[in-house]
């Protein structure tokens, strides 16, 4: 059985950045496994611009952004196996792998970096009643059909969900000559970036109906129409005026789920809120030698943050191997409470942490003029006034090691709404 120092599962933005960082940190025996026929992951179908503002200070398209990393992977001679799917990872870090070129094989790894990304929630997960005709696509599937294969999924479009992919696809379908009739969002706010609402809906005159959902799908063979209804604060349809909208296509942008079936097979503990692994500050999961980064860890809004996080996973995995594969003593818990849904990382080893550590998290609803509070044990360490916080925009806070008290066991993040 071939043994590698680090095997990276996934050749999207996370896997690429992790591999580059590990290689630069001095690891030579590493391997990227990618199930698609090319590196770059989902970026390859994201042909719109807006990527790389943070990393490169310029606006790139998805493929351009990916290309910056793919070039480095080539220059650094990092080996990749394409069209290669990992079927299973054992807790002892043996990967069962299959692909056209190399057949079915088993590979051992001293360390593994999980970078499988996420998948879209399908219609079934929402239990939308109605028929099951052709013409119902998750937004990302439609994006692939349009941008990579050159096919138009439909002409009269309704989009359910105002996540970023849904918004981007509203614009794309319009540009390709389809008619986007409405974007419906079950929540009272959009989960997408504000800039996408402006650039993808407002600029094209596409209405956004908040607190609305699809309650019926009509059409036995191909979608013929959908019924839209307003929902109450518990997302339940309000009986009363419903709107039938004739259309031939329903696109769904109703959430992304980290794809952690392999992580589970390896025995990795998952966070029930993020759907991704529980990790320490070095992005180490509960299984020794197994690291995670990118959307498999928690769903990001910006690829720039994925790359940054993945670079850390790569260099940390290298340091782990070079430091004698020592277990961490992650005795400090990071928790989100009162409006903060989760944090990444969830665990902290104070002795291992760098001088500064960025903690990322999301709030559970929209806040205006509220405060973000960081608590060390039961003491409020910092209170930061925020004009706006929204679930669609990931928040972050930088912890400085020098600030941490000696008896620290819990760091809590909360939202405090100011008394009016």
């Amino acid at each position: 059985m071939e043994t590698y120092d680090i095997v990276i599962v996934g050749g999207g933005p996370a896997g690429l950045a992790a591999a580059i960082a590990a290689k630069k940190a001095g690891i030579d025996r590493l391997l990227i496994l990618e199930r698609d026929s090319e590196l770059g992951g989902i970026l390859n179908q994201c042909i719109h611009s807006g990527f790389g503002l943070h990393t490169f200070g310029e606006e790139l398209t998805g493929p351009e952004y990916a290309d910056r990393y793919i070039r480095q992977v080539r220059e650094l001679n990092i080996p990749c196996q394409l069209q290669t799917m990992v079927l299973d990872i054992s807790p002892e870090r043996v990967l069962t792998v299959t692909g056209r070129e190399h057949g079915l094989q088993q590979i051992a790894a001293r360390a593994i970096i999980l970078a499988m990304g996420c998948r879209e929630r399908p219609r079934g997960a929402l239990n939308i009643p109605g028929y099951r005709p052709a013409g119902i696509y998750s937004a990302g599937t439609a994006q692939r059909l349009v941008n990579m294969e050159g096919y138009l999924p439909g002409k009269e479009i309704v989009i359910l969900g105002s996540g970023d992919i849904g918004l981007i696809m509203a614009r794309r379908m319009s540009l390709e000559g389809a008619h986007v009739k409405v974007v419906a969002e079950v929540l009272p706010y959009s989960g997408g970036l504000k800039r996408n609402i402006a650039q993808c809906l407002d600029d094209f005159g596409i209405p956004l109906k908040l607190s609305h959902t699809v309650i019926d799908i009509d059409g036995k063979e191909r979608v013929r129409g959908i019924t839209l209804a307003e929902v109450d604060e518990n997302r339940r349809p309000i009986p009363g005026p419903e709107e039938y909208i004739p259309c031939d296509t329903l696109l769904l942008s109703v959430g992304l789920l980290p794809e952690n079936e392999l992580s589970s097979s390896a025995g990795v503990t998952l966070d029930s809120v993020t759907g991704g692994p529980v990790v320490t500050e070095s992005l180490l999961t509960s299984v020794p030698g197994v690291f995670a980064c990118g959307n498999v860890l928690h769903v990001h809004d910006l690829v720039d943050f994925v790359s940054e996080e993945a670079s850390r996973a790569g260099s940390n995995a290298a340091a782990y191997l070079q430091g004698g594969e020592k277990a961490e003593d992650a005795s400090v818990c990071l928790v989100g409470k009162k409006g903060v849904r989760y944090t990444v990382p969830q665990l902290l080893d104070v002795h291992q942490m760098p001088e500064q550590l960025t903690v990322r998290f999301r709030v559970g609803q929209s806040y205006r003029d509220a405060s973000l509070c960081v608590w060390f044990n039961d003491t409020c360490f910092r209170r930061i006034r925020k004009r706006i916080m929204a679930p669609g925009e990931m928040e972050q806070f930088t912890l400085r090691r020098a600030d941490l008290p000696a008896d620290l066991h819990t760091i809590t993040f909360t939202v405090e709404e100011d008394a009016k």
Binding site: T96, P122, N127, P129, P133, P153, P237
Partner: protein, 478 residues
């Protein structure tokens, strides 16, 4: 001139065709859909019922028990997925115990083997996830689960291999007698046949009424289901029914042969024979009643929901109708539950009926065995390695969730009666059946269909007819 035309390529029609293909005859199977197993047979509980439910003496009881007894051997012969997992009928109320006993007695009378009544403790030892509210249960060890597509497609392929001609996308517009034979009018022209076997499911009455004087009426009875992720299939091992009682007719919770968890069905009569839409009320009922049996159902793991229509015959005796109803005209109608279980036995019975009437003689070279599509996941590591070495397409995974390879999808397309649509592929090899429901593999399966069938992507369908998947090329509209 055909000897026999079977109308309807569901489980019953395909079973009849397979059994008839043992004889020397010109046999044709017609179906209005683009694939076999497109009606009631594809959307049901996928249970091989033990046979304690049907009234003693009824055809339902007799053919249920016979079908259940045949299923194991048939699954080996025709290579489809079947598992005898046993069933439990939960009793929630001490007051309902007489009903439980009645079910037991009925089962014994029907010839169901191994029935036992379990007390609460034994029940929970056997199936820990069921509700503490259950006070006792009827245990039926012979109950099983089957892949309804797998079974129907296997019977169809085997019939095809033995000379049966399948004409799909061929809706019967009318059926009439012409002297000593019948004329079956379809969109593709008239077909002549010495005998007709009506296995048309929810359309069975429409055909019947064109030939027979005594009119019958089928009311489609809708059942709605929710399907949970494969990671939840272990939640229960047995099929868990509810004793009909204050909850109404009851909802089952069962693992499927592929390891998902299935709950349903509701029962609501309707007029629409194509009305396979789910409803908010139906899905809510399925879920809430399923929770009465298994309280901790992980409902966030629902991956899809669907509805099927039972061909409920309102006239008569609430039983299957399986007979020669007019000279040369045979019918198996009103085949509602336990129709899937009974289908193998119905096939034998109906084929014999027709063969005797037409004086058919048996073939010498009937091939009883059929080999299914190879499933690399069922092979040992070295076997699978060797398979991939011989044909690298089996190493190329197309459907991530179910880990289905290109090789299996190509097999699905190129077999006799091969897949022609996305759903056709899905029913044969499960590509798209997983937790992302084809979000990832859909476009890739379309590419394979397009390449192998030499059809442009724009002509491909989800399930035939007007179910085109894409409407054109980008920028065409500009």
């Amino acid at each position: 001139m055909y000897d026999v035309i079977v109308i309807g390529a569901g489980a019953v029609g395909c079973s009849i065709a397979r059994e008839l293909s043992r004889y020397q005859l010109r046999l044709c199977v017609l179906d209005k859909n683009e694939d076999v197993c497109e009606g009631t047979s594809k959307a049901n509980s996928a249970i091989v019922h033990a046979g304690f439910d049907a009234l003693p003496g009824s055809k339902k009881a007799r053919f249920n028990v016979l079908g259940s007894q045949m299923m194991e051997e048939l699954s080996h012969q025709l290579d489809f997925a079947y598992r005898r997992n046993g069933a439990l009928v939960l009793c929630f109320d001490e007051a309902d115990r007489p009903k439980l006993q009645e079910l037991y007695d009925r089962g014994v009378t029907n010839g169901v083997e191994g029935l036992r009544i379990l007390e609460k403790e034994a029940l929970h030892a056997m199936e820990p996830a069921v509700t503490q509210e259950a006070v006792a249960a009827l245990y039926a060890p012979t109950s099983g689960i089957v892949c309804p597509f797998g079974m129907t497609i296997a019977m169809a392929e085997n019939a095809c291999e033995n000379g049966a001609e399948f004409r799909l996308n061929t809706e019967v517009q009318s059926l009439r007698r012409a002297g000593d034979h019948f004329v079956v009018t379809t969109a593709a022209g008239d077909l002549e046949t010495r005998a007709v076997i009506n296995a048309a499911g929810v359309y069975g009455d429409i055909l019947h009424n064109q030939i027979c004087e005594k009119q019958v009426h089928i009311v489609p009875r809708k059942g709605e289901y929710c399907l949970l992720d494969r990671k939840d299939g272990h939640l229960v091992d047995h099929t868990v029914f509810q004793l009909p009682g204050k909850l109404g007719k009851g909802i089952l919770v069962t693992p499927t042969v592929h390891g998902n968890l299935l709950m349903g069905p509701t029962a609501a009569d309707q007029d629409a024979r194509e009305g396979t839409n789910t409803t908010a009320a139906g899905l809510a009922e399925s879920i809430s009643k399923a929770r009465c049996s298994v309280p901790d159902l992980p409902l966030r793991d629902v991956i899809t929901s669907f509805a099927g229509l039972r061909a409920h015959l309102v006239d008569g005796e609430d039983d299957f109708v399986m007979q020669q109803s007019a000279p040369g005209y045979f019918e198996a109608i009103g085949i509602e539950s336990p129709g899937l279980t009974a289908a193998p036995a119905i096939g034998v019975y109906m084929a014999q009926l027709a063969a005797e009437s037409l004086h058919l003689s048996k073939k010498e070279n009937f091939k009883a065995q059929r080999k299914g599509i190879v499933n690399p996941q069922e092979l040992s590591f070295p076997e699978r390695q060797e398979l991939v070495r011989q044909n690298p397409a089996y190493g190329n995974i197309i459907c991530r969730c179910e880990q289905i390879s290109e090789g299996e999808i190509l097999d699905a397309i190129h077999r006799p009666l091969g897949a022609r649509s996305l759903d056709g592929v899905k029913r044969r090899v499960r590509a798209g059946s997983g937790r992302c429901q084809g979000g990832f593999c859909g476009p890739r399966v379309m590419e394979l269909l397009s390449r192998e069938l030499k059809e442009p992507m724009t002509d491909l369908t989800k399930s035939g007819g007007a179910s085109r998947l894409v409407v054109g090329l980008t920028k065409e509209e500009l």
